[in-house]
């Protein structure tokens, strides 16, 4: 099958009301019949009906194990599963479907790289280069690797606006791998991953891009970015939880040792010796998350039917509305003011704890996140322990933003 599953879709004009109508959960209320205002999409996005239907359809019509049994259902399930792989490959513009490995999520994808490629190639004295804005999922797996092999971690600093300061990057020696996020989950900053990957490639440094936050907002074209690995989670892309993707350049994947042992990932097994299967199943031991792959493919097809440019415009309008509204609150400071950012607004209010704001806006039906956002080193850079964070998705409306502003104003009034 050609890798054109997505390009053939028709592009629908963007209308937030039409989008919202496809998300059943957005119709519910919380507490005393307050309409839910969901502004925590960076933690996880809600699911459109077509994704929910894909899961139900899989279990009511096609459920069977993949790659194993010799019967009609198993063939159907295997075709659906491998179609899912092709859909993801096409979505990321990978060279071939075998470059797509299914994982539980971004976290497992990064652990997989650190434990296989990392363990094979990173040696004593080598440097793993990260940025100060990495999520713990792109720090801890590398720390565990470094401890094991005697390598060390260096970081690219973040300036006051939340932009990477790359001035001193050439002074860092012995870099084996650069692992960085495409978009910051706390600041919303879009990093110039293309330039950084190009810099890395010219020095023989392998690149890992954490696409968890970027994937539902900006184009992730792995060939254009020029990265060696790219990881994302299904649940932040309107798909289900428990399914994620690791893209890896085929030549690198092919030379990598297995990750976990078990069924599927083998060619032959005897008690004396086991030979391993080819990429990608070498990295997919055991029965995979079949309905997760099927529903993720449904989410990608749905998402790809929208024009990313129109989405970005909508999001920038919401960002401006939020920043303008918040700026009228005395003592409020937005954390993350990079010129290029997605719809994430982190803020702190002088003399008021983010947890208190979170609790009081929640009581008004507005769901935001408060805390360190799995970004403790970044929080330290800003001298903070937590922020309040509102994050947008395709279904976020101006009304949602206005509710946030009203709720935040009221919370601050009550707390002062």
């Amino acid at each position: 099958m050609p890798l054109s599953v997505i390009e053939t879709q028709t592009i629908a004009p963007f209308d937030v009301a039409t989008v919202r109508a496809q998300f059943p959960l957005l119709r519910r209320t919380v507490y005393d019949n307050r309409p839910l205002v969901y502004l925590d999409s960076a933690a996880t996005s809600q699911k459109p009906q077509c994704v929910i239907d894909a899961i139900v359809d899989y279990y009511t019509q096609h459920n069977s194990n993949v790659h194993r049994s010799a019967h009609a259902l198993s063939t159907e399930a295997t075709v659906m599963f491998e179609d899912g792989r092709r859909t993801v490959a096409s979505f990321l513009n990978a060279s071939r479907p075998e470059e797509i490995i299914f994982t539980r999520g971004t976290t497992e994808a990064i652990n997989l790289i650190a434990q296989t490629w990392g363990h094979m190639h990173v040696r004593t004295g080598d440097v793993v280069l990260l940025t100060e804005m990495e999520h713990h999922a792109n720090i801890v797996p590398w720390q565990m690797l470094c401890e094991r092999v005697g390598a060390s971690i260096r970081t690219i600093p973040v300036d006051e606006r939340g932009v990477l300061s790359i001035d001193a990057i050439n002074e860092i020696q012995n870099v084996k791998v650069l692992a960085l996020t495409h978009v910051s989950n706390t600041l919303g900053t879009i990093n110039d991953v293309k330039s950084l990957c190009s810099w890395a490639r010219s020095r023989g440094i392998v690149t890992v891009v954490d696409g968890a936050q970027a994937i539902s907002h900006i184009k992730a074209d792995v060939q254009d970015i020029g990265c060696d690995f790219y990881a994302f989670s299904g649940h932040k892309l309107y798909g289900p939880t428990g399914i994620g993707v690791l893209y890896g350049r085929y030549a690198l994947l092919d030379a990598m040792p297995p990750y976990q042992g078990g069924g599927s990932m083998i060619s032959t097994v005897s008690f004396e010796q086991t030979t391993y299967n080819d990429v990608p199943v070498r990295f997919e031991a055991g029965t995979p998350n079949i309905e997760g792959v099927v529903a993720l493919a449904a989410a990608i097809r749905w998402f790809s039917s929208f024009d990313l440019g129109a989405l970005a415009e909508h999001e920038q309008m919401l960002l401006a509305r939020t920043s303008d509204g918040l700026s009228t609150i005395d003592g409020l400071r937005v954390i993350g003011t990079a010129p290029h950012k997605i719809g994430i607004v982190s803020f702190v209010v002088e003399g008021v704890h983010a947890a208190d704001i979170g609790a009081l806006v929640d009581r008004q039906g507005v769901a935001i996140r408060v805390g360190h956002h799995c970004n403790m080193p970044l929080m330290q850079c800003y001298g903070l322990t937590s922020t309040a964070r509102a994050s947008f998705a395709m279904y976020t409306s101006e009304h949602d933003v206005d509710q946030l502003l009203m709720a935040t104003n009221k919370a601050v009034r009550m707390l002062r």
Binding site: Y31, H353, A355, D356, A359, L360, R363, G371, T385
Partner: protein
């Protein structure tokens, strides 16, 4: 007042608060009344793990009752702490261990009772009970020595 009598008093107090705004404003006011926390105890050792806000809880035991000093950098958490202190402070380990915080639900703040890691109340209560269990063990060892 016994712990149960205190709980009833708190429940009655909150019955007077009709709206969620009133309940939270009352919580905030209660928190502001918490005694000043001794700075010497504001250390990692006395920090309650698993809270969104920073929470400090310092226990001491006079052989009969446990005495707590508590503080938080967040206003609502501090209010919840103040309520917990009214119920659990200056009690015997047995009283602390036998008293469940069901009143939190009765007073309409059940959203703070979940095991969600962002909510401090569960962690604070766990810590209070852990200290009580430890002091009960200490008291028993003392009695049998």
């Amino acid at each position: 007042m016994t712990p149960q009598e205190t709980i009833r008093a708190i429940e009655e107090e909150f019955q007077l608060q009709n709206s969620w705004e009133d309940r939270y404003e009352h919580i905030i006011a209660v928190g502001r009344g918490l005694p000043v926390f001794p700075e010497v105890f504001r250390t990692e050792v006395f920090k309650v793990k698993g809270c969104q806000a920073q929470v400090w809880l310092h226990p001491s035991f006079d052989g009969k009752c446990i005495h707590f000093e508590a503080d938080s950098d967040a206003t609502i958490v501090k209010g919840l702490l103040a309520l917990l202190m009214r119920v659990y402070n200056h009690r015997t380990p047995a009283e602390v261990l036998a008293t469940e915080p069901s009143f939190i639900e009765v007073i309409g703040l059940h959203e703070h009772l979940s095991q969600n890691r962002t909510n401090g109340l569960f962690s604070m209560l766990k810590q209070v009970k852990m200290y009580a269990a430890a002091y009960q063990a200490v008291a028993r060892m003392g009695a049998s020595a």
